[in-house]
Amino acid sequence: MRFRLWGTRGSIAVAGPDTVRYGGDTSAVEVECAGDRLVILDGGSGLRPLQADTGPADRVDILLSHLHMDHVQGLPFFPPLLDPDVEVHIWGPISTTRTLRERISRYLSPPLFPIRVRDLANVMFHDVVPGEFQLGSIHVTADLITHPGSTLGYRLVEDGSALVYMPDHEPALGHRDFPNGPDWTSGFGLAQGADVLIHDAQYTDEEYRERVGWGHTGVSHLAAFAEMTGVEKLVTFHHDPSHRDVDLDEFHAHLESLVDGPEVIRGTPGLRVEV
């Protein structure tokens, strides 16, 4: 299994000379697996360049971590959703009150957007209950993680290799003694022992102290979570929109100084990693 990052920015897409290396598009990750199918993690603005590069597939599965705008705003700009020859499956967290289709239709309907869900071609929606399911050769485990609203983390396993995706996650929230006590740490069960962890890297420690409960991770907690879970590689993701490339260089130098064990990989658009 291999994956490629297309959208790495968090919260809102950014553009300009200060965000060239770490990217400006929001969450979208292409997962290359066996067979003529495409698996994508989240539907942020990174979906647009992704499709331009990968070309058509017979079937596309899009796993949404949650429905905040930066994770779904690319959906209507993704041509397979309007192509009757492509079967598209959209997976996202279940809700008590509305189906996934109904919730996405709040965005894909006027006045917010001219295209309606009913205009989509060959699209099926799946309300995901925490648990396990199979996508071709990939075994998927989904579980809720701490982030405002219902948010899923995903663990994808193919041929014994595990990729874990937690783009928006605050692992220290609700913890009395983080990073001790993994039993009470959100996301631990999913991430434990993974070959690669793609994880929220939104805040410096100073920023995190001002934004506890916003659902994102400070750099020290990110390092501690990666070590606690024993992952082999940590890929940073969901960079704060206010962080320029030079700020993120500094952020990553700090992160690398804190992490003793997992290899830190800087999440940048176009990055391709073998799991």
């Binding site: 809700s95 309300d127 209950v129 925490p130 579980d143 809720l144 609700g174 993994p182």
Partner: protein
């Protein structure tokens, strides 16, 4: 692999840790997985000393009767009732904790159900009944 508590229980524990109301968190098997500091006063033992308590141990550690001192069937205790019936339960009872002191308390137990109908356990509050 080690297991991890469901995120709903992690967040409930955080809420409980900030409240002045004595609160228990039970998992779906009836194990006492957390109680907050105000509950320590009622139970007569600190959580850090006791740690999680297996369901089988609970009935040995805490004696419960009606307010009149009559025996109370285990399935009538609100927490057990909420666990078994998966519906809210409330009653006033007399119980004796690890410190050997009998107390009269009102117990309210609420089942915790996560998205997708996942039964995760019960949280219970205890109000000491004054004279």
């Amino acid at each position: 692999m080690r297991s991890q508590q469901p995120v709903e229980m992690i967040l409930l524990r955080q809420v409980a840790s900030y409240l002045t109301i004595p609160m228990w968190l039970m998992d779906g098997h009836g194990n006492l997985i957390y109680y907050n500091e105000p509950a320590e006063g009622l139970l007569g033992i600190q959580f850090d000393d006791a740690g999680p308590i297996h369901a089988d141990q609970l009935s040995e550690m805490f004696r419960v009767t009606t307010l009149d001192g009559a025996p109370l069937a285990e399935h009538d205790f609100p927490i057990v009732s909420a666990l078994n019936k998966r519906s809210p339960s409330h009653d006033s009872v007399r119980y004796c904790g690890m410190d050997g002191i009998w107390r009269d308390v009102a117990v309210s137990a609420i089942p915790v159900e996560g998205q997708g109908g996942r039964f995760l356990g019960v949280f219970a509050t205890f109000w000491e009944i004054g004279d």
